[in-house]
Subunit: 255 residues, 2 copies
Amino acid sequence: MSARYYWEEGNGFDSATAILAGDEAHHLIRVMRAKPGDEFLLFDGKGFEYRARATEIGRGSVRLQVVETREICNDPEIELSAAVALPKGDRQKWLIEKLTELGVRRFIPLEVERADIKTDDGVLARLRRQVVEASKQCGRSRFMEILPPMPRREAAAACRKESDCEPLCMLAHPISDGEFGQWSFRDFLSRGFQDGRWTMAKHLFLAVGPVGGFSDREVREAVDDGWPILDLGKEVYRVETAAITAAALFLHLGD
Amino acid sequence: MSARYYWEEGNGFDSATAILAGDEAHHLIRVMRAKPGDEFLLFDGKGFEYRARATEIGRGSVRLQVVETREICNDPEIELSAAVALPKGDRQKWLIEKLTELGVRRFIPLEVERADIKTDDGVLARLRRQVVEASKQCGRSRFMEILPPMPRREAAAACRKESDCEPLCMLAHPISDGEFGQWSFRDFLSRGFQDGRWTMAKHLFLAVGPVGGFSDREVREAVDDGWPILDLGKEVYRVETAAITAAALFLHLGD
């Protein structure tokens, strides 16, 4: 795949003028040594790619003329909204990179009782930058959306509002004594995978708890709300492992 | 889960004497401030856990008396052998950590045409240390085995020899023009998941290529060997993402 440059203001129009600044311009000027007339591939993270020709190379910015606009539809068929209690440091970056690669539609830093981390605007901005970087790498054309931090019910309501499709809501929680009636991935398959197709909801909302897991009260509330509890098995997964595993499992059930 | 200490020489015997040195002893002495009579949980990475009582605290070692031995069987039902062209740096560490958490049985650094990295004894020793660390964290009782680097056919033969179970061998390769007859995960499900159970081989061998993928020749040779080509979808996954995704998918098909 050839390099793609992020054009924030792209909106799907043909024949527009694109002005890139910052890191994107730096790469074009210093690394690619762009000259007027050179062609590059831009994308806007909203599902459009642009073939564009450099017209003017400034000191820290590049002006390009769009010569072709293409709408790219490579979102997975399954729409996954992931609300995850953010892990710390590098694990956070990895989580976002992998969920972006896997094709998760939207991400919400989940507010939980055993909160580990404060999610302020700086953190959200960093998560969004990581989505841009990972998308460039893996070829995603529509960014994973980062919503502000919310507790479980509000997060599910926000995702319901943003989608055409009513979500099947789940809570990931490791096996305990079975009192919550956990479902394994196989249980989901047995119910939902019929005649070679996933026949349950095409929009899934998944909540993943912090280090130490959801509190009993949080799990019980989800059960009372009628949410199935997804049990990912005997090993104790780290937060990012649970989220990545569940995303891999459900996103690969679609076309 | 309470902390577990790695006892390399454990072999499933009761009433043995365990001597821990190095990092394990350091943690017991400096962090836990172990005193004679204190009880700790040891594990040997071969499937046994030991309740053991400290009898002597040395300067850099701790002697313990095993008071109870338990065999722990929490390997996934599906046996997965993963042969992966090692990525670099942090990505390598992440790959090993996640495959350990997911319960992969054995790992082989895959020798490929577009080799990215030299896997010497130092690298193998580091990978094994990472398996130990990740196993402590996630509660695995049997270590993911790290085999020496090998090309594809030799790796599959080595895994066949180590297992009671004939492996179904696959090569992960991103979609191209379909000339190799790729299978999606859904194709595997359609064929192998019947009446709520995985009915195909319980031992899977998966080869994952380097950055840039397997060469056409490598893919064609695998096809000629009768290996199905696993297509993980439209996005371009990084090496570690492909391996982790495939491991998540197949390991969750078992009990």
